[in-house]
């Protein structure tokens, strides 16, 4: 008995000792890495990526890694003036398309000589054909399969009953020649070629479904290869000697630390362990701006933070005589008026604090018209301000007064208290997060200022997405970040059948409301609808834009579409997103693109 007990105790202690021993080993190996600091760039973008398969990835951090691991036909790079441009990468050059008789456009690319996979096999045009068809396929069901929507044949693949041989119109003419045909010309085609979904993968490699989870089976063709992946901890990328442009890669090793804790990221940055962190705690932003004026970076990001209304939510006072189209017209006016109650400058300066730009239109800052002007600056028809309302600090009081005047038409206003007395109670839905909550509380207080009660309801992420998608809310927090720089990605999400149509345009009671006018005759189209439903107008307009080959007209039509959206008052833009990160000043040669992808291959550490 005594023996047993001492045995138990001994084993316990031994376990304790060996376990502690392991800890020491970790410490030693950790300090060994520090010695070669100039050859290793340690950064932290986010936590463990869901996937490193370029076709399946839909996250910005995953895209950054894919850009270091693969070579597509094109890539983002920084030109001599510091501007981000798309240039040829695996392709000899980014050719112009040839317009066919049926309006489709064919591009013929020649691959550079001597392109190799990281295992030494040659990269061929057939690899691209395979990769693209795989990424676009129903079987893979990738988040970003719709990136291939512009390619001829995509619609057939996704038809309700697709033909056996339905495939993208992409052909490997020979080992080095790739021919792709687009349904119609799109201005952002070269940018798509630089998008991770368009990166090549090899058939025999991806036949193993787990290929992208293990460095041993990960075959790529870019500047780096994965040499180690400690799950939830660190991904190590080492320069790929088989890469065609290996001479341009100045950083031998990249370490992507995996963490989703921004306080922890900041600690490691301040310690000097991590030289770039892609997130910072919101409540530290004000300090960081002062303490790290050079290293705290606010970069542009093409995205809009906004509030959306469910279009079928009844907001007219109880007993209102208005019905049908008249009621919806009144609601449009009411929602637009409420959008004027919010001081966007206060939101970005006091709450968000990350250099965001107050928004008065939906299509985000960073999108440009064909003539190079900013899309958001030409939105709306005002000469005095950008967008659909004046969001300058000076205009705020006038906006507020105008909103109250409009609301007085529909609700009872108590002059003594300056409050509306019969506005129905609203609920603001947001996903659990301090940042969203703070903004929600501001909106709540602004509305309470004129007697409108808005309760707050937070839901955990997946539940929130579901509730919002189903339209089971009255007002909800929302945000959208572009996948490519074309305004259409902000506009086609509001068609009736779109999966992102959270506002429920053209659904439920709204489906029946024939109240929208659309006249495209001045743009050379026959489409002219008076008192049409959402499906008859907006959906048709988006279809027209997607098939439009004249870029000038196309952009004008996109402005028309945004006008229609904003007219409904269901979208209340608050600000345009920015990308906040911290970069140690010893790192040179770093750049990031408008989509937030970060590029480290040309970096050096001083």
């Amino acid at each position: 008995m005594k023996k047993l007990l001492s045995l138990v105790l001994a084993v316990t202690m031994l376990l304790g000792v060996t376990a502690c021993g392991n800890e020491n080993v970790v410490d030693e190996s950790g300090s060994a890495a520090v010695e070669t600091a100039k050859d290793v760039l340690a950064v932290c973008l986010a936590s463990e990526p869901d996937t490193l398969d370029p076709a399946l990835n839909s996250a910005v951090d995953g895209a950054t890694m894919a850009a270091h691991l693969f070579q597509g036909l094109a890539k983002w790079t920084q030109d001599a003036d510091g501007n981000l441009v798309v240039v040829a990468d695996a392709a000899e050059e980014l050719v112009e398309g040839v317009v066919n008789e049926d309006g489709t456009v064919t591009y013929t690319y020649t691959l550079k000589d001597g392109l190799l996979w990281s295992d030494g096999q040659p990269v061929t045009a057939a690899d691209f054909v395979f990769a693209w068809n795989r990424a676009a396929s129903v079987e893979l069901a990738a988040d970003y399969c719709y990136m291939f929507e512009v390619v001829d044949g995509y619609a057939d693949m996704w038809a309700e009953e697709p033909a056996e041989d339905a495939a993208l119109n992409v052909v490997a003419v020979d080992e080095k020649t790739l021919q792709v045909t687009l349904a119609n010309a799109v201005s952002y085609w070269n940018e798509l070629l630089a998008f991770p979904t368009y990166f090549p993968v090899r058939e025999d490699v991806v036949a193993n479904e787990a290929w992208a989870t293990d460095p041993a089976t990960y075959v790529c063709n870019g500047p780096y290869t994965i040499t180690a992946w400690e799950h939830n901890s660190k991904i190590t990328l080492t320069k790929n000697e088989n890469y065609s442009d290996a001479a341009s890669v100045t950083m031998p090793t990249l370490e992507f630390y995996l963490s989703d804790d921004n306080a922890n990221m900041l600690t490691n940055f301040e310690n000097g362990d991590w030289l770039l962190i892609d997130d910072v705690p919101t409540n530290e932003i004000a300090n960081l701006k002062v303490n790290y004026p050079e290293e705290f970076v606010i970069a542009g990001q093409i995205g809009t933070y906004y509030v959306c209304w469910c279009i079928n939510e009844e907001i007219l006072p109880e007993g209102s005589a208005l019905t049908g189209v008249e009621a919806e017209e009144a609601r449009e006016e009411i929602r637009s008026a409420i959008g004027l109650l919010f001081d966007r400058n206060y939101i970005v300066e006091q709450i968000a604090q990350g250099g965001q730009v107050p928004a008065s239109s939906f299509v985000a800052m960073g999108m440009t018209n064909p003539d190079g002007t900013e899309f958001y600056k030409t939105a709306g028809d005002s000469e005095e301000f950008y967008g659909y309302y004046d969001v300058s600090a000076e205009a705020y009081e006038a906006n507020w007064a105008a909103a109250v005047e409009t609301l007085k038409k529909y609700y009872t206003f108590d002059e003594a208290t300056q409050m509306f007395t019969d506005f129905p109670t609203l609920t603001y839905l947001y996903n659990t997060s301090d940042a969203h909550k703070a903004i929600g509380e501001y909106l709540q207080s602004a509305m309470a200022g004129i007697g409108i009660t808005m309760n707050m309801e937070n839901q955990e992420w997946a539940t929130f997405l579901n509730t919002r998608k189903e339209g089971n809310y009255s007002v909800a927090r929302n945000g959208w970040v572009a996948d490519y720089s074309d305004p259409i990605c902000f506009l086609d999400m509001w068609t009736t059948v779109s999966g992102n149509n959270d506002i429920q345009y053209g659904k439920g009671a709204h489906a029946e409301l024939a109240m929208y006018d659309l006249d495209l005759t001045e743009y050379g189209y026959e489409l002219k609808v008076e008192d049409g439903t959402w499906a008859e107008t907006y959906d048709e307009l988006i279809a027209t834009i997607k098939s439009c080959t004249d870029n000038e007209v196309r952009y004008q039509l996109m402005h028309v579409a945004e006008d229609m959206l904003m007219e409904t008052g269901c979208i209340v833009p608050l600000y345009f997103y920015t990308d906040l990160y911290m970069l140690d000043d010893s790192v040179k040669g770093f750049y990031s693109n408008p989509l937030g992808y970060k590029y480290f291959m040309g970096c050096t550490i001083e």
Binding site: L5, G16, A19, C20, N22, G30, E209, N264, N268, W461
Partner: protein, 309 residues
């Protein structure tokens, strides 16, 4: 070992299996009842893509059929299926990765709690009502009454943010020190108090007095007679302690960003990664059930007078 004991152990094992089965069943249906799904995201995928993924993972079948398939897979093939979120990775691999970290955290915490607790408890008992006893009692009372999430957060603020002695991230160098302490404090305090009272109890027994009267050296009385018998209640606490450490690590791993199974579990729930939720739940449930079983059997072995019935 008597047949009665064997019968008891057999009964306990059957009960344990039943418990795990109930946990599996309840979790399986509960995860599918919460709104949202694994393929839902900020940017919606098309209904066709959704259908394709559901077919791929068998989520298009009736829930009961999925349940039967899943149970069969787990029981006969030890197959926990693929993760629905981390495409290409198997649930079992994700659990194994998390377990490496969590086991280290848990084992060190449990061992330090036991060793430190027993030592402190003995000291307190032998120095009864002296200053050292009072200090130990005050500190352990504080540790027993404070929940882990408060203790963990306080330690994070004090040692990491204010003093900067230890890293906040469980994954960095020396990063496991704070989480281990946070996790070990409660069971350590509990064991201290348990050892103290049971040691005092034993020290008052007749046989100790006899030993003293015979002139047995003091250290021999303490280590040879008193400590051994006063550890019986401590051993019974091992089961609940390990259960506490398993559940406590869910909180601690979240606070200190330790990439263990606890964090994988929490993330799998928010991401509706059904298979990973099931996998982690089963592993944690089995762990707790087995630990309790072992501790009960050990109890019987240590003190044959105890009637397990």
């Amino acid at each position: 070992m008597s047949s009665k004991t064997l019968g008891y152990i057999l009964k306990r094992i059957l009960l344990a299996i039943l418990t795990v089965w109930v946990v599996i069943t309840v979790t399986f249906f509960a995860t599918r009842m919460i709104p949202g799904g694994p393929f839902i995201g900020e940017k919606a995928i098309s209904p066709a893509a959704q259908a394709s993924l559901e077919a791929k993972y068998g989520l298009d079948k009736p829930v009961f059929e999925q349940y039967v398939t899943y149970l069969k897979g787990v029981v006969f093939d030890f197959d926990f299926g693929p993760s629905l979120k981390q495409r290409g990775r198997m649930v079992i691999d994700i659990i194994a990765d998390g377990m490496k970290v969590s086991a280290k955290l848990g084992v060190i915490a449990a061992c330090s709690a036991a060793v430190v607790g027993i030592v402190l408890g003995s000291i307190a008992a032998l120095r009864r009502n002296k200053l050292i006893d009072k200090i130990i009692m005050v500190v352990t009372t504080a540790c027993v009454s404070m929940p882990t999430f408060i203790m963990g957060s306080l330690m994070l603020i004090l040692f990491s943010l204010k003093l900067g002695w230890l890293p906040a991230n469980g994954d960095s160098q020396g990063g496991l020190v704070l989480p281990i302490i946070a996790l070990a404090l409660y069971p350590m305090a509990y064991i201290t108090r348990l050892t103290r009272s049971s040691m005092l109890d034993v020290l008052g027994q007749d046989y100790i007095r006899t030993a003293r009267a015979k002139g047995v050296p003091k250290w021999k009385i303490i280590f040879g007679h008193a400590l051994k018998n006063s550890l019986i209640p401590v051993i019974t606490y091992f089961g609940p302690m390990l259960a506490y450490i398993v559940t406590g690590s869910l909180v601690v791993e979240k606070i200190f960003a330790v990439p263990g199974i606890g964090r994988a579990f929490v993330n799998s729930i928010t991401g509706r990664d059904y298979t990973l939720v099931m996998g982690t739940t089963i592993v944690l449930a089995v762990l707790i059930v087995v630990m309790n079983l072992v501790s009960d059997i050990l109890y019987k072995v240590v003190d044959p007078r105890i009637n397990l019935e």
